[in-house]
């Protein structure tokens, strides 16, 4: 079996074993039902907003895709620790950082499922228009891949600390306010608007909005920026993980705490 095939098989096992796949109802609740309920909430709220419901539906479809990808990446890796298999994984000759990045990537791909489902729901329930579906899908995929870098970074930070839920919930509410999903970037206070430029999803969301509206002029540029931001986070995540791994081996703290 080739190296690539082994990696893919391992990723598949980790997804199925650590992400609720073994309980299909839980999986469906996580991937589709709960995000759909949130989307309906924001769509209803959006009817009172200055931008109209469609703005909130599209923004939150992408935000929920991001949330799913980030939470999934973190929970899969943190689950290794709670299930007591992290030490064994760290002891393998394979670079663990790459293994974990692969898992984060898979969660990103899984997030695309959520994003597509939510946008379809938006089309059906809130009359969202989808002028360029192929570009929309491409924008979702690139955004999801870009988010995997941040996913790895958050997962590593969760491993270094002890309370993954705290970190994830702060990110959850930060995305609600600063990602451009609910408040246009132009209306954010300057420091928050500046911060949002460096966050994965911001440019991807703008690209999705452009593709859905059929205005493709700025979409390729936005997607390139999104990919670059994601790559920067991936590098940062890998570096931090390597540091945490080295420290764990040196100090004997294989659980990385």
């Amino acid at each position: 079996m080739s190296h690539v095939a082994r990696v893919l098989r391992q990723l598949g096992y980790s997804y199925r074993g650590l992400f609720g796949w073994l309980r299909p109802t839980d999986y469906a609740l996580l991937i589709f039902v709960e995000p759909a309920i949130q989307l309906l909430f924001f769509g209803l709220l959006g009817r009172f907003g200055p931008e109209g419901a469609a703005f909130y539906v599209v923004g939150n479809a992408v935000r929920l895709m991001a949330t799913g990808a980030l939470f999934g990446a973190t929970s899969v890796i943190v689950n290794e620790r709670t299930q007591g298999t992290l030490s064994a994984l760290l002891a393998t000759p394979t670079p663990v950082a790459l293994t974990f990045y692969g898992r984060a990537l898979l969660q990103g791909a899984s997030g695309v499922l959520t994003g597509v489902f939510l946008l379809l729901l938006g089309v059906v329930v809130f009359d969202v228009t989808a002028a360029a579906p192929a570009w929309t899908l491409l924008a979702l995929v690139i955004t999801a891949l870009s988010l995997s870098g941040l996913g790895l970074l958050l997962a590593t930070m969760s491993l270094v600390g002890t309370d993954a839920n705290l970190l994830l919930n702060i990110v959850f509410y930060a995305l609600i306010v600063t990602s451009g999903a609910n408040i246009p970037l132009a209306d954010l206070p300057a420091p928050l608007a500046l911060l949002s430029q460096g966050v994965p999803m911001t440019h991807g969301l703008e690209a999705v909005r452009g593709a859905l509206a059929g205005d493709l002029s700025g979409v390729p540029g936005l997607l390139v920026t999104e990919a670059l931001v994601g790559a920067a986070y991936a590098l940062l995540g890998l570096a931090l993980f390597r540091f945490a791994e080295t420290r764990a081996r040196r100090t004997g703290k294989l659980e990385l705490v």
Binding site: D26, Q38, F48, Y173
Partner: protein, 257 residues
């Protein structure tokens, strides 16, 4: 005996909850995020009859999450801590422990309301209506809190039968927020959904606060419905707890699954 158990359970809840960094942060972060979101959605200038959702609604949303959401998961956490068996074997009924914990959560849930008022009025400058009745608002908020408490006890009862408490909690968080009328009017909901919301005491508590906030009147019918439905929930919860407890003893499933 029952009073002492109520106080002890409430005290344990307060200590356990305040020791969790997640709760310490989220009790502030969540209402601030909601205030910023609703501030933008509703125009931020205390527009006619909608500033309620910014000033109080954001805090009531936090109150809901801190009471019903938190207390419903407490018995699940007991299971995780390994203390559920001693709790069940105690001399007081299970519902008393659950109700005591929910009372503890109710005490903490005042914090998000205070945070939302301070941030929206003090920081963002949201104007209050001229006819606001502060005592009426306090009564409405208290009724909402009692409703959350009753509903939380009922939920805790149902959740104790499941291992998937976390999944169920996440699933119920947003829909109940949607139908409670704290972040947008219940009239925005489809008729069938609005009808379902009528059995929730939180909806009527929020309505009591809404009328006191906007019209300066204490609407007795809403207050009466909130308290009557909350009492009904508590009664059903107490009866259901008896059934659950008997089932556990008969089947010897002390872990309650």
């Amino acid at each position: 005996m029952i009073l002492r158990a109520l106080v002890a359970a409430g005290r344990v809840h307060l200590r356990n909850t305040l020791a969790r960094p997640l709760f310490q942060v989220m009790i502030v972060v969540q209402p601030v995020a909601m205030v910023l979101l609703t501030h933008y959605v509703y125009g931020g200038e205390g527009a006619a009859r909608t500033s309620f959702f910014v000033v109080l609604g954001s805090g009531l949303a936090g109150m809901w999450m801190a009471t019903a959401f938190s207390s419903a998961g407490d018995l699940g956490r007991e299971r995780g801590y390994g203390t559920i068996q001693p709790v069940l074997l105690a001399d007081v009924p299970l519902w008393v422990v659950s109700a005591g914990r929910a009372l503890g959560a109710l005490a903490l849930s005042v914090v998000p309301v205070v945070v939302s008022v301070v941030v929206s009025v003090g920081v963002l400058g949201t104007a209050l209506p001229e006819r606001i009745s502060v005592p009426g608002v306090l009564v409405g908020v208290a009724a909402f809190g009692v409703g959350c408490h009753a509903f939380g006890v009922l939920l805790g009862n149902l959740f104790i039968l499941s291992r998937r408490t976390a999944v169920l909690q996440n699933l119920l968080e947003w829909p109940l927020l949607t139908v409670s009328g704290v972040l947008f009017p219940v009239t925005a909901l489809p008729a069938t959904v609005a009808a379902v919301s009528a059995v929730l005491p939180m909806r009527w508590g929020a309505e009591t606060a809404w009328y006191a906030y906007n019209d300066g009147v204490l609407r007795w019918s809403s207050l009466g419905l909130a308290l009557a439905i909350a009492a009904g929930h508590l009664l059903v919860a107490a009866m259901l707890f008896g059934v659950v407890e008997r089932r556990i003893r008969v089947t010897a499933s002390l872990e309650l699954v």
